[in-house]
Symmetry: D3
Subunit: 239 residues, 6 copies
């Protein structure tokens, strides 16, 4: 069975990383994975959360959200409903945790970087696009901080990228679009460092439980995908 | 005193209206008034609110929101705070009311069009840019509906555009940017129909109370600005 | 067409301003515009909001609310629903903004005056009655403060009153009652200073868009109405 | 020690019951116990809560609230805070329960009467004034219903009144004002039927635990007070 | 009519008080009144609420809650609903008030003890079981504090226990189980000190109003029940 | 380095599964993994969520929560705060998803089973204990349903258990207690079917990113642990 958009199984969608999309943010990126479009804005604040005080260390956190009409049918706003959904909070936590894995908090100084990841359009893989774009926005914010002499040494230990993989129609596939995502038997999100180690592995049997073999196949695919994304991040940051 | 961006007093900022910015929405527009950038997405639903049932008439409503880092410093998300601010609700109500003034609800059929106006970047005049863009998104959604034979005749009685005007440093100025907005003595938002009549006039003395003469001067300026915007809307819809 | 209560078009309803209606508040007024009855209570606090600190200036704010059975049919309480409606917040902001236009914040000292405007009974024009009554309550609170030597000079630059006007059945009318309000084509609320300048003009096309001529006619009517209200405020404060 | 307002221990404050204070409500009463002033509005609705359907019986419920400046210092609004305080809910439940004790729900028909008790000014005993006034508002609403032939027989089995009693400075006193309430060792609210039976007894040791003797003394006082209030309710309803 | 579980009218259900049920809490008790099972955990904190500061006195507070499936049919969680029910807050307030009646706050030092009472299973009398168990948990927490030298003298003036009584099928009965509670005409909760004085009396006519004679009969029964519970508390604390 | 409780690296803590801990629930289990104690209650309802209607299929969902003093220091209640934390929702979603992987929804009939997992005491691994206990409670509820002839065939496709694993002090360890959890470099939760396939794998680099080798080592350990838990579940269900 061919993929909906004609890709081969180990092929990423068209990825586009536009830096400096916003005038005010210390770092900002519009990242696209095919039809998925996420605006990542990094904001620097010269203080840390209360529980972090007196540690001499900084903090990095993230918030993920989706515009009401990012999806095929309109979703009610969480601000109007008056509460955050579980999915929103779960992804916000994942993004923050993933980015923190690449940060030296001593070097960051007693500053907080908040990365807002707002999904303008969704076509599968919004959380992995968000992490991949957020890293670039964070890198730009760190450069801004370095120019202001707010850091002590290099706060970025490595880079971070993320990709989704899944078993669809019996085949392991990279970077699922929405049409594939909804019929995947197994769905996995993998976050990697720039040097290929793992930060987060979240595999879920949506339909049928999966074996260690399938897990390994998916991880192989994901690590290749993340290596490609790492290169695209480097190129974007070099521009 | 020259204006911060060198414009003359009766000059609009650079206005850009990009249609079809989203794949899923029945109508979508990215509208820019200088540095102000608002994404307007129109969603069509084949039902009406409960209180509207059995009337045979449709409904149009709008929701306005701002991304956390649209502004110079980051604002907390209303979804995280768990409640909508007064300003957000006030502007949402204004946009919905303004658009409804141009709609024939019988012709719209028993459908609801919701226009989401999300400010991606703010530099003054976000509500007027939102109304101006929202009309174009609404027009595209109405075309989509007409193609699906969901309407009965033309639901759009006229077009709608909006502009801010204000007294800054003793001078009446058109389309205030943020730097002007914060020091304006009088601040006014005006919503007009395509044929120059008034839908909404909201004038506020921020500093010094104003006279009928000043009010008239501002209204003259606003009606000229709206006439220009009406032409740009027509051009955008003709593309 | 005669008006529902037999008034001529430029006639106010019976206005009654009772000062000192509450024992505890530093200023309190029960204001009636015909069947509309609003209790305005001014509370003085010897501190200012956080963002106002170190400015040496005071603050004036207002909260508007309606009792559940102020209206023809009972409305659910916003406290029970757990959130403030958009209309409530919008009117609270309008009242606060209007009162602040008449205050010299340096002279007020680092104090906050909060004016609670609770609608006990509603028959149209609740926001304009609230503003008109709130000014008198504020004036009484300022006298109380002056007696306690909390002010530095006179904090009141002018007086403030407000009235609604509208186009009903093709005629410009002053001080709409509820029965007129619901069928008005254009509805406008105007806030004036005691010397006839404008603080706030909010005109809305409920049905048909309006022309500059209609706007002017309504403004003429409103400024006359506010002048009458200014006199009644003076008389009430002189008693 | 004399009481703050010079009353003897078994003396009620000046009680005033004004019927028909509101134009829209089916029953409305402004009740005063000295400086305590509560507006009670009864609203009739021709339906019952979901859990009550198919029972053929009606329902009576109540909501209690206090205006922000009813008290000596201003309290934040529960609608602004976004949640109801425990005290508010507790008193609302007490008022509803007390009124229901006098209602024949079969005779009421499948209607709901909601009694809103809004404290305009507080000087102790707000909940007992509210119950006493609410009964009169309920009686007026029932008369209104009877005139509309919405009832089947007499829905009111008896009348209901309530009073506070307490041990202050070692003495049992009737109808405590605020100054007495805050220093009472024991504080009790008693709700009685018109024929002297008990509907609710809520006694609390604020300072020192109390004995059966003290309890009995307080109950004697309360039953006398309620008998007086019953007469005043009858007189008010006869006017 | 025999009671559902065969008890005589003045007989308590099987009461079991297990201390030290939790490893972390400074005091913890699993208390059972028949099928009613409440976990009471006392937490000591070396600070007091803001309004209590600079008083040199401590504070005791309580929170009551019920697990969703404590009851016969599942109830929605209040955390999911996003607000506390009136009943929950009312009982939390009652427990806190009852415990505070036995505490010398000077001797407690500037510490706060919070007692969480979580109903694991409900079969009537959950609030009285909670108070009875909470006192034992408090006593253990106070012992823990004394060992840490956090107290100044003995903070416990007396012990506290509570029981429900009611008129069921015309008979005064002690310690109602759920099946009796739902059909009781009068329902009363009584909180006593260890030496038999009263802290709280809350009697409610659920069906028919009650007389002083019935009230007295119920109080006699309740005081006997509380005396028994006091002994069981002593035995539990002596183990 | 020995483990805090003296276990070897591939050793589970003492696991105890008590069925029938509650009288009302259709299935209930008190599960203990060492000091971690979770009460799992399964509730059967003869309907399905709205979005599931007309599918002929049932539903299984779960809610996870922690008592305030389950932990070393007291946490504020989410019901009092008025919103669910991200962690709570994330774990609730994980438990529900894991259980659904073992259910044949056609066979379940149009019924919903809700599993409440309330942590009475926490010492690491609360979510894995919850899943392991919840399966047993679900199995008991399914038996109850089968006895009532509410099912069509066997709704349970397999069993489900879960365990945590982690890299602590450079060693892969099974079933981390809290003291190990806080210092783990990598932390992973694994959910398995009774026949050893994977339902969910969630690995997180808390400190240092991890390699595929480490991941494999942890998965080996987890699958062994789940196999042991599967046997204990069988034994418990056979009792």
């Amino acid at each position: 069975m061919p993929r909906p958009d004609g890709r081969v199984n180990d092929q990423l969608r068209h990825v586009r990383i536009q830096r400096g999309w916003l005038d005010h943010a210390e770092g900002s990126v519009l990242v696209e994975f095919g039809g998925t479009r996420v605006l990542c804005a990094a904001s620097v604040q010269d203080s840390v959360p209360r529980w972090r005080r007196d540690s001499g260390m900084g903090w990095v956190t993230a918030e993920y959200a989706m515009l009401p009409r990012a999806t095929n049918t309109r979703n009610d706003r969480e601000s109007v409903k008056g509460k955050l959904g579980g999915r929103t909070q779960e992804i916000s936590r994942l993004i923050g945790r993933s980015l923190r894995a690449c940060v030296d908090f001593k070097a960051l100084g007693t500053n907080t970087v908040t990365i807002d990841c707002d999904v303008l359009q969704a076509d599968g893989g919004t959380r992995t696009a968000a992490i991949t774009g957020a890293y670039v926005a964070l890198a730009d914010a760190v450069t801004w901080m370095r120019d202001k002499r707010l850091t002590k040494g290099d706060p970025l230990l490595t880079s971070v990228s993320a990709i989704s993989v899944g078993v669809v129609e019996g085949e392991a596939r990279l970077d699922l679009c929405y049409a594939e995502d909804v019929k995947a038997d197994t769905d996995m999100n993998v976050v990697c460092t720039g040097d290929g180690r793992l930060i987060e592995v979240q595999g879920t049997a949506e339909g049928v439980p999966f074996s260690r073999e399938e897990l390994n196949q998916l991880l192989d695919l994901a690590q290749l995908g993340c290596a490609d994304l790492t290169m695209m991040q480097k190129e974007a940051l070099a521009r």
